[in-house]
């Protein structure tokens, strides 16, 4: 029986701004089980980061309106008072931010920043916390942690800073680790190291991971289940294999096709999604992807529900095209062949 950690139900997040109501997240549902890596994929402005920040209560503000529920261990985090949420945040649910260059405080030692996180949540002496910090730095692969714990962030390279961020996030042994574009600012070689590290630590610490990225290549490595978001909505959701080998939504095809593939002959032109994501204040009628979709037809004037349209039960999408049409239309463009796995 899967150990359910988190359930997001009908989450909507709206920001009232001078220009109008920004519908940043407009209906997101998912569940997260212990030991799993859950990928959220989408372009900038698709609402993936807002979803993550809302789980941690980081979007709370006078001008924010919430709907739906975020249930963690039977409690709705959206309704939880800030004082109690503080015990959860960083302690049971922790976050790794995108930019390791700016997420560490440059005037405090790396070790002190980790120690601070530990003593905030646990009744433990500073000396013990320091030992923990050294041990954590060792676990995330920082060489010479005894010395490096007293370094300032500028003495760390980008990859090491991201490791330090991960160490900090893991300092209280969280149940859920939210990684928001953890590798985007890093070189590919370092990206490979960090992904491997997150995957390994997930098992060591027995947590679940929410991995947010705009790059499907990143989730192909580590995710178990994937949602694809567009304009604040989930447009497709399924297992990793479903998304990569039987993608149902034209937006997912576009994302897959946009990645230059080293394992394939070079195409004449990269497949790209034309246009830009819509403004979240003024969303298009019907299917939100319609203005950019090369396969849109009349029915797309109405918005399709997120529902199961394929044989598999857990594969959901938001597209009116019939399954046969989809398989025909996407053919030869993007979808890889499923390999026989032993």
């Amino acid at each position: 029986m899967a150990d359910r950690l988190l359930e997001v139900k009908g989450l909507k997040v709206r920001f009232a701004t001078e220009d109008g109501l920004v519908r940043a997240v407009d209906g997101v549902d998912f569940e997260l089980d212990r030991g799993k890596v859950f990928g959220i994929v989408g372009e900038s402005g698709s609402g993936k980061s807002v979803t993550a920040m809302t789980i941690l209560g980081l979007t709370r503000d006078r001008n924010t309106r919430f709907e739906g529920e975020v249930v963690y261990k039977g409690q709705n985090l959206l309704a939880m008072p800030e004082s109690r949420l503080r015990d959860v945040r960083g302690n049971e649910i922790a976050m790794i931010f995108q930019d390791p260059m700016t997420s560490l405080n440059p005037v405090y030692k790396v070790g002190d920043q980790i120690i601070e996180a530990i003593v905030t949540h646990e009744d433990i002496s500073k000396r013990m916390a320091r030992q923990r910090a050294v041990e954590l730095l060792r676990q995330v692969g920082i060489p010479n942690p005894q010395q490096r714990v007293d370094d300032y962030p500028h003495q760390f390279s980008g990859g090491m800073r991201q490791r330090a961020m991960i160490a900090m996030a893991l300092s209280c042994n969280p149940d859920i680790l939210i990684a928001d574009e953890p590798t985007t600012a890093l070189d590919v070689t370092i990206q490979a190291q960090i992904l491997e590290l997150i995957d390994k630590l997930k098992d060591d610490f027995d947590s679940a991971v929410i991995l947010i990225t705009h790059d499907l290549g990143v989730v192909a490595e580590v995710a178990d289940e994937i949602v694809v978001m567009y304009a604040g909505r989930v447009v497709e959701r399924g297992s990793k294999r479903d998304i990569f080998y039987d993608p149902q939504h034209p937006y997912t095809w576009g994302l897959l096709g946009s990645i230059p593939r080293l394992d394939r002959p070079k195409p004449k032109k990269l497949h790209s999604i034309s246009g830009m994501p819509p403004s979240l204040i003024n969303l298009p009628q019907g299917c939100k992807f319609r203005p950019r979709c090369p396969h849109a037809f009349e029915k797309c004037q109405q918005e399709p529900e997120l529902e199961n349209r394929v044989e598999e039960r857990q594969h959901l999408d938001r597209c009116w095209l019939s399954v046969d049409d989809k398989r025909r239309l996407r053919e030869g463009t993007i979808v890889g062949e499923a390999q026989e796995v032993a």
Partner: protein, 360 residues
């Protein structure tokens, strides 16, 4: 153009940055950002420049367009030596070479309107009158896929991808021969990256541009480049026709870089052998002895830490600097060892591909 068809010749370029300390600001050390790189770029071709952060690829790019003065060595642009030119003498040449920067948020002045941003290069170089310039800017906006109505907008009204288009329009305003694009797509979303790459390719065909394309993403580089130069800690370690680099990397560093690129296919990705490079790039202040890659290289032997490998021509314009070359058959290896190993100088000429700039 010089006799061998090269638009830009980079000759033994070194760029060191001094580190100064103390009251007297005495030089205590030097950052070896670019260390003896020789490379030429033919008219109409795209040379990709790849490597991790800190490998000197951006510094080299800036030396090429002379935003930086090389410490030693020379740059020949269109048959003219420009390595030592002073700012005033360089100015007329600036029309011929332009740059597209990485960060579309930081590289446009937030207080200027788009029309001014794109039009100012023409104003500075005294091209046309106000009306002609406006017309040209509007044309440029259309060329890069924006609308002429955007003339009076400010940068903050645009998304990252659109801003990068503005940056490209600005670079094209003076009809340059050479465009150095420094990570032009790395700050953009994947789907927008593809648009940008396609745009850059179309522009190259329409205007006969020569590109130096700097990136750390080997996927994008493969797509745009005719030839690819791999840099590591200030050194050129491999230079190859684009496709060949992917099928037959010679330098172990290139092999590792290739294997780190994620493949958006779970099964292939799981099957693939992944070479995860341990650690970070060493400091360019005190680069390792011998082959600079040896501390991270899985094939390294004693010689690697003692002798710096020369850049050797393995045929077909494929050069690499390694004591333990991969993917090279015995014959080639013997031929290469027998003939005096090329120095970077002499290797340069033969490195030119037969028909650059032509794509299938």
């Amino acid at each position: 153009m010089s006799e061998n068809g090269a638009l830009v010749e980079i000759k033994n370029v070194k760029k060191y940055f001094p580190i100064r300390k103390g009251v007297l600001q005495r030089e205590v050390a030097r950052v070896h950002a670019v260390d003896d790189v020789t490379l030429s770029v033919r008219e109409g071709e795209t040379v990709g420049l790849v490597g991790e952060s800190g490998c000197g690829k951006s510094t080299l790019g800036r030396c090429i367009v002379r935003l930086l003065e090389p410490t030693s060595g020379d740059i020949v642009f269109d048959g003219r030596s420009i390595g030592r030119l002073k700012a005033r003498a360089l100015r007329p040449l600036r029309r011929e070479m332009q740059m597209v920067f990485q960060d579309p948020y930081a590289s446009l002045n937030p207080r200027k309107r788009v029309g001014t941003i794109i039009g100012d290069p023409m104003k500075i170089h005294g091209i046309g009158d106000r009306r002609e310039r406006k017309k040209r800017v509007e044309e440029l906006l259309e060329t890069v896929g924006l609308s002429p109505e955007h003339y009076n907008r400010f940068p903050h009204e645009f998304s990252g991808g659109q801003r990068q288009r503005i940056g490209v329009a600005r670079a094209l305003a003076l009809r340059p021969k050479l465009v150095v694009a420094d990570e032009p797509v790395s700050a953009l979303d994947v789907s927008i990256q593809a648009q940008m790459v396609n745009l850059l390719e179309d522009l190259q065909n329409d205007f006969g541009l020569t590109y130096v394309f700097i990136a750390h993403d080997l996927g994008v580089v493969r797509h745009v480049s005719d030839r690819i130069a791999v840099m590591y800690l200030g050194k050129l370690v491999e230079l190859s026709p684009a496709e060949e680099l992917y099928t037959r990397p010679i330098m172990p560093y290139t092999e590792a870089l290739l294997s780190a690129v994620p493949i958006p296919d779970p099964d292939l990705s799981a099957k693939r052998e992944r070479i995860v490079l341990a650690g970070d790039v060493p400091s360019p202040i005190n680069p390792p002895s011998g082959c600079r890659f040896h501390p991270r290289c899985r094939y390294a032997t004693e010689i690697c830490s003692q002798v710096e490998p020369p850049l050797v021509d393995y045929g077909n314009g494929h050069l690499a600097a390694c004591h333990h070359p991969l993917n090279v058959d015995k014959e080639t290896l013997e031929r290469v060892t027998a003939s005096a190993r090329h120095t970077p100088d002499s290797a340069d000429e033969t490195a030119l591909p037969a028909e650059p700039g032509k794509r299938a």
